[in-house]
Symmetry: C2
Subunit: 288 residues, 2 copies
């Protein structure tokens, strides 16, 4: 086991705690969702955890834990944490902030994707991570993916992230929400995946404690906001037509992840853990 | 309308005829499949044609015609033909055979993907095309994609392509079937998409007539072989478990097309016709 410095340990500990909190919040919704449309006859879902190791020539590349729930409110929810370290292959090192001259890296983070059963309830994605090369930074974000966008819901989600951003830097929300708008654009469909949120990377303001506190708040905001959005709509009836639209929307979601998402394409092409990377794909999708 | 030379006209005419023949063979199966499992209550499918133009600064970039059938034996079958011309963007021209110094190109071809409803019936893919830059060549292939591989069926498909290959060059089958084996490997899943067939590109033996005749035989082989494989199995009963395996197999199919398939990724990133390119995606898929 690699020896972590105090910042690495603090970040890793936080991501694990956030994972536990979010999984608990989603399992509580599963408990309360017995009479939700679509949940008929299904038991409350529970997260199943699977650990994986990252192969590394040194014999210790770190690893991660996938937590996957297939439930009655959440058709599929995956919450991954990982702490990995090693050396980037030379051709990749050049593309990574601060790794051009020294290819060694450390990364710890959390990544989650939630696909609810009820098309009225938005799907969601959140991830935050700390990266260390010769530089040290945070990145991540949270974004909402309804198949049926709802202005009030979108405003509530963005509003929560604006509050979190404003507490740290008045420029963050405008900058990071625009970044999400650019990042989640699907050129070949000429539309966005989802209704946005925030996206940030290479955050290194010179104040590590402040950057870490912001990253924690990005996670807390998701933890405190998304479950409430689910509870607000999980009892709404839905039609077969809405379900069909949801399945088609998930096709767009899969296209974005497989064609453009940096984490996915980078992970698949560099021998990452396939099951953990593709945990994001929807349980069912249609292109018809 | 661009003026085509005799070879371009001959190739375009052939691809259109092949499209008509294959669509007719599939529609005949739709007519005969009324009592196939899964077909209950469904009308025989018919191909719907949609023409598209390729935007080009010159005002004439050519275009194509999509033919899509959503039927009772074939859950989704798409047969595209296109004849396009123009100039590659400079950064792409460098990657294309013979386009480094002169970026002008002409391409005409046929591409089809068939997703049957019954999991006993294999999905299939075929495409052949003629390309013209400062060079002139053919490429294409045909491959079988069963979710439940069947040795006898695989042998029949490969055998038909071996016969077609052997009639033109005794080295073709070994070379082109190996090429398919390499091309349809999905590294992140450590398995192949499908059970292979043949794949070839940059075929320019110096005998254009011979290369065209081979390319025609690749199309004829598909036209004469695949419908028989469908008819052999379309009446077989299937279980919900087999259907589930088929939907999961289609997830792998979508992953391959969106992450690795050259035509798809190239097309999406160069502003091709999205509907025609993504015609290949399965009507329904699962990642659960």
């Amino acid at each position: 086991m690699a020896i972590l410095d105090a910042q690495q340990t603090a970040a890793q500990t936080w991501f694990r705690q956030l994972r536990d909190d979010i999984c608990a919040a989603l399992e509580a919704i599963e408990d309360d969702g017995g009479d939700a449309p679509g949940a008929e006859g299904l038991a409350p879902g529970r997260f199943q955890r699977t650990a994986w190791d990252r192969p590394d020539p040194s014999g210790d590349g770190g690893g991660g834990v996938m937590s996957v729930l297939k439930g009655r409110v959440f058709e599929k929810a995956g919450v991954n944490i990982s702490t990995v370290h090693g050396s980037f292959a030379p051709e990749f090192a050049k593309q990574i902030n601060g790794a051009g001259e020294d290819p060694r890296f450390f990364a710890t983070g959390i990544s989650l994707v939630i696909h609810p059963r009820n098309p009225n309830v938005p799907a969601a994605h959140m991830n935050t991570r700390m990266l260390v090369t010769t530089r040290r930074w945070f990145g991540g974000g949270g974004d909402l993916n309804p198949s049926h966008p709802d202005e009030a819901e979108t405003a509530a989600f963005h509003g929560a992230y604006k509050t979190a951003c404003d507490a740290h830097d008045p420029a963050y929300y405008e900058k990071f929400s625009k970044w999400a708008e650019e990042y989640f654009w699907v050129p070949h469909r000429q539309r966005h995946r989802g209704v946005g949120g925030i996206f940030y990377d290479h955050l290194d303001s010179g104040d590590w404690d402040g950057d870490f506190a912001f990253t924690q708040d990005v996670g807390r905001t998701f933890r405190d906001t998304y479950p409430a959005l689910v509870r607000a709509k999980m009892q709404r009836a839905f039609t077969p037509e809405q379900r069909l639209e949801q399945l088609r929307y998930r096709g767009l979601y899969a296209e974005f992840n497989l064609v453009y998402d940096r984490g996915t394409t980078f992970g698949l092409k560099t021998g990452g853990n396939t099951d953990a990377i593709l945990m994001s794909l929807p349980p069912e999708a249609r292109w018809d």
